[in-house]
């Protein structure tokens, strides 16, 4: 077991940032923490890498208690923070040298490790320019390179691709997969559902500090909603009546737009048309994590049935 959280809570005054978190991350897994802004994802990560002590509960990383073995555990993990913390006047190579010293890597080994990281994250072309001259994508790659400095057994990524363009995101996902093939365990937070669906073997969805669902992406889709999604538009004022006629169908509504979930979307569409002949079909598609996420945490959308 790489990470084990047992009934972990973090309280600030009256408010629980994390409330009774249980989770287990196995070796080699990619584990995702999902949830809207303020759900407690970043706090959960800070508890796990030991920067924030829990108000209650126990956290084991590499089978050691994080509150008593903080230095030993942190020597074996790497963290990419949500915000890059780079020295802007220095180059990527110089930033990596500074960070390598935090891990007490001796100079010769450090130069070799820096060379490997520059190659792994494709930073070589810009390795000697000041960081402030680099694009957001380059800066993010440098931040990730820094978190890989010590060859971590556990890599913690806090919203690794927020604000990056699609090409950079794809490249980073590719690197994460390579790391996993080499045996690295990955724990990440994201609010991009496509990212979670592509990378994660298992995830928990958090809302207001609590876990509201857990499982693999297909399990979550099956358990929370259904495999197929049907999007229709109904005339004003017809939603409640149509939903009542359909009975027990899981639905999400946004204005005139209605999303319905079923094992068989074609049969469901028939039923919708019988209930409301003026219903307009928008799309039939496989249910994705985005639907699950909205069903579990969406506040603007109303859950039906």
């Amino acid at each position: 077991m790489i990470v084990r959280c047992e009934r972990v809570s973090k309280r600030y005054g009256e408010k629980f940032a994390v409330d009774g978190l249980d989770l287990e991350v196995d070796k080699g897994q990619c584990f995702g923490l999902l949830g809207p802004n303020g759900a407690g994802k970043t706090t959960a990560l800070k508890l796990i890498y030991g920067v924030t002590p829990p108000s209650a509960g126990r956290i084991l990383v590499f089978d050691q208690d994080i509150t008593t073995h903080t230095r030993e555990i942190r020597a074996r993990l790497g963290v990419t923070l949500q915000e890059n913390a780079l020295i802007e006047v220095l180059s990527p190579v110089e930033n990596l040298r500074v960070f390598g010293r935090y891990h007490l890597i001796p100079p010769a080994a450090l130069e070799q490790r820096i060379a490997e990281l520059l190659d792994f994250l494709d930073l070589r072309s810009h390795a000697r320019l000041p960081v402030k001259a680099l694009s957001g994508g380059f800066q993010r790659r440098l931040a990730i390179a820094m978190s890989l400095m010590n060859g971590p057994e556990l890599l913690v990524l806090d919203e690794p691709t927020t604000g990056l363009d699609p090409a950079v995101r794809l490249a980073l996902w590719h690197r994460v997969r390579e790391l996993r093939r080499a045996g690295t365990t990955v724990l990440l937070t994201t609010h991009y559902m496509d990212e979670a669906e592509r990378l994660c073997d298992e995830l928990v969805v958090m809302d207001q500090g609590k876990v509201v669902a857990r499982g693999s992406p297909p399990e979550l889709i099956r358990d929370v909603l259904a495999p197929e999604a049907l999007e229709v538009e109904l005339p004003a004022g017809r939603h409640a009546d149509v939903l009542a006629r359909l009975g027990g169908v899981r639905a999400l509504r946004s204005g005139a737009h209605l999303m319905l979930y079923a094992k068989d979307a074609a049969a469901l569409l028939e039923a919708v048309r019988r209930a409301e002949p003026e219903a307009q079909l928008v799309a039939v598609r496989p249910t994705n994590l985005e639907d699950v996420f909205l069903a579990l945490t969406g506040t603007k959308l109303e859950g039906g049935a």
Partner: protein
């Protein structure tokens, strides 16, 4: 939790690596400050003063300005710079993803502030030696007092920086704390000759007087040994107290 010296050095090295790149912008200008005071007050004002504290005005000013150089060197580092690293650049947050602990961050920052104090004060001592205002032997005696003065002001500054909510409050620190210290700590005139009663007690309680008096003694002035012991004890005791407070605050701040 105790300080790990090697991790504290890694924190020190981070600042060193950054300022090595930009020392002409960050460090060089401050070096001229005590030299300018010495020239203006010592040569300009000093021309109208036949003697002060038993020497020429120029020679009277010199030791106090060494202590002031150390005070300024340490203060810049633990105020604006440390505040930015803590609150804006997320430097400490990033350090705490590695085996570095809050205590190491504090120790590394203090060590770096001492380094800067020593660069300022040491460079000024060299200028004074070349000028002939202090003999090489007395300059060597005075040198260890530079980081000692730096320690005192690094401790005061960091305890302040870790507690304030906005960066604007540093203008109070500099204008209403450091500037009065500079003006009323035996640097420009002998306090004992101009102050009496309560004013003298207040002056003794303020921090800059103590490194200034030690510095004067190192430059060869006649100061009672008991008074020097008191000055050294003051510096160590206040620094220890404030660093203890700072360690508690930085743990609370960084651990959230």
């Amino acid at each position: 939790m105790t300080v790990s010296p090697r991790h504290a050095l890694a924190v020190w090295w981070r600042n060193f690596a950054m300022y090595r790149r930009s020392w002409t912008l960050n460090i060089l200008p401050n070096f001229f400050e005590p030299v300018l005071y010495l020239v203006s007050m010592g040569i300009g004002v000093g021309a109208y003063i036949t003697e002060m504290g038993g020497t020429s005005y120029l020679a009277f000013l010199a030791p106090g300005l060494v202590a002031v150089a150390a005070m300024n060197g340490a203060s810049f580092e633990v105020t604006y710079n440390a505040f930015v690293r803590l609150n804006f650049e997320k430097t400490y947050e990033s350090m705490l993803t590695t085996p570095i602990q809050p205590e190491d961050v504090l120790a590394g920052e203090i060590l770096w502030a001492l380094t800067r104090a020593t660069i300022y004060g040491g460079a000024f001592l060299i200028v004074l030696t070349a000028w002939g205002l202090v003999t090489p032997l007395h300059a060597l005696l005075a040198f260890p007092l530079v980081p000692l003065a730096g320690l005192l002001f690094a401790s005061i500054g960091i305890a302040f920086s870790l507690r304030i909510p906005t960066i604007e409050l540093f203008s109070f620190y500099f204008t209403l704390f450091l500037t009065p210290l500079f003006l009323f700590s035996d640097v420009f005139f002998p306090l004992k000759e101009r102050l009496s009663g309560v004013a003298l007690v207040v002056a003794e309680a303020l921090p800059l007087l103590h490194p200034v008096r030690l510095m004067r003694a190192a430059f060869g002035a006649d100061v009672a040994p008991a008074l020097l012991l008191f000055d050294a004890a003051y510096i160590f005791a206040l620094s220890a107290l404030l660093l203890w407070v700072a360690a508690r605050v930085i743990r609370a701040r960084l651990r959230g």
